[in-house]
Amino acid sequence: MRAVNLIPAAQRGSGGSAVGESQGAAYAILGVLAGLAVLAFLYGSARHQISSRRTQAATLTAQAQQAQAKATALAPYVSFAALREQRTQAVSQLVDSRFDWSHAFHELGRVLPPGVSLSSLDGTIGSAVAAAGAPASASATTAAAGATGSATPPGSVPTFTISGCATSQAEVALMLTRLRLIDGVGDVKLQSSTKGSSGSRGGGGGAGSSGSCATSAPVFTVQVAFQPLPSVQATSAAAVTSNASTAQSNGSGTAR
């Protein structure tokens, strides 16, 4: 059976039946309209966003200004709190930078042999540079001294110069050994130990007091150098612990 094309010959082969008479203009117009609709939606959405964001920004700015104004009004309180913090810190630094003389004396009294009498004890806190045997880090920490204005800045080396007499040179040697046991001692140096013949020396003033020394007892001078005073940061934690036991009595108050 033979197929028959019923389409008129004029309209065959154009393939543009969908285009029709308008040559596709209708589709173009529809496409443009659809595109414009999308654009209109995007435009409207953007306009709405602009409007709401403007309102939001204005509200937030107003709230921020209000909060700022309130904060400004309360600024003196903040300044006062800062002053308190600054002052507390400064006093804390000064407290932490002190050398514990009483502890050093207590230790000295504890370690002195019974056969040793002291005639004088001279304790000073010298500069890190002048002190012999001070670690190199000591001079570096001295720079921090100006910040706190402490009379005993970090890096300073406490030194005891002890003079007295002993019952024998062996006692002097024992004393030198035991002085090294003092908490925080860095160096013990014997300056002299002379067995003389003149009378009336010593005075028995020390913790190991045993009265006046014999005429022939050796007279000595010893220098005890402690570890350089540590920086404030290092001492803060330690000071809290060591002074915990002292925080009592006297009806004293606490500044926090």
């Binding site: 953007a46 964001r53 700022q68 003196p76 407290v95 001279d122 100006g146 020390g206």
Partner: protein
Amino acid sequence: MTGRDRIVVTVIGALAVLAAAWLLAVSPERKQAASLNAQVSAARAQLATAEGQLANARAAQQQYSAAYTSIVSLGKAVPASQEVPSLIYQLAQASNRKQVEFASIATTSGGGSSGSAAATAAASAASSGFSQMPFTFVFNGSFTDLYNLFQQLNRFTVRTSSGGLQVSGRLLTIQSTKLAPASSSEPAKGGATRLTGSVTATAYVLPASQGLTAGATPSSPTGAVASPVSSAAPQSPTTPAIVR
């Protein structure tokens, strides 16, 4: 013009219309919306900052009373003026408590009696800290009593276990001590040898520009009438400035 050309022209025209609409209307609006988003973010950040500052300020306001108390308490350790009489009183009280004789006090610079110390104390100002007032004290007592006294002097201002400061007297930094047998032959208690202890110590004074409370009153940091330094803290020797 063929049918295909017409279609191409029509499509190009449609695209041109859409592109023009995008470029002239939609795109600027979207850009503006984006910039407003940035503005909103900035405003939010500004608000957060302001609220943080306000919270800090409110906290400071709530703690003002405690801060004022602390400042006044610290004034006992580091007063705004030299306060030599109260220092002498504290030293005398401490030495009495430790059975040590408080023999003398002198300024390191010139040496004078306790009376002239107030007038002559040369305060060497530290660059950014407190002014220093060097003194030399002389005490007489036994070795044990003297080191107990040194402990007492340190305890005027100490750290607490919580990290705070406990202030019951003047902050002193002992720089040197010299112990030697006392010239008098009178023995100390318990028959111990009587020693003379010379102590070089430094007391501290607030910078003159600050004042004790920087013009604050117990009720407000911006008190209309700035409290005189001496009246802001209980500086009387008989009423120690101890506040918790």
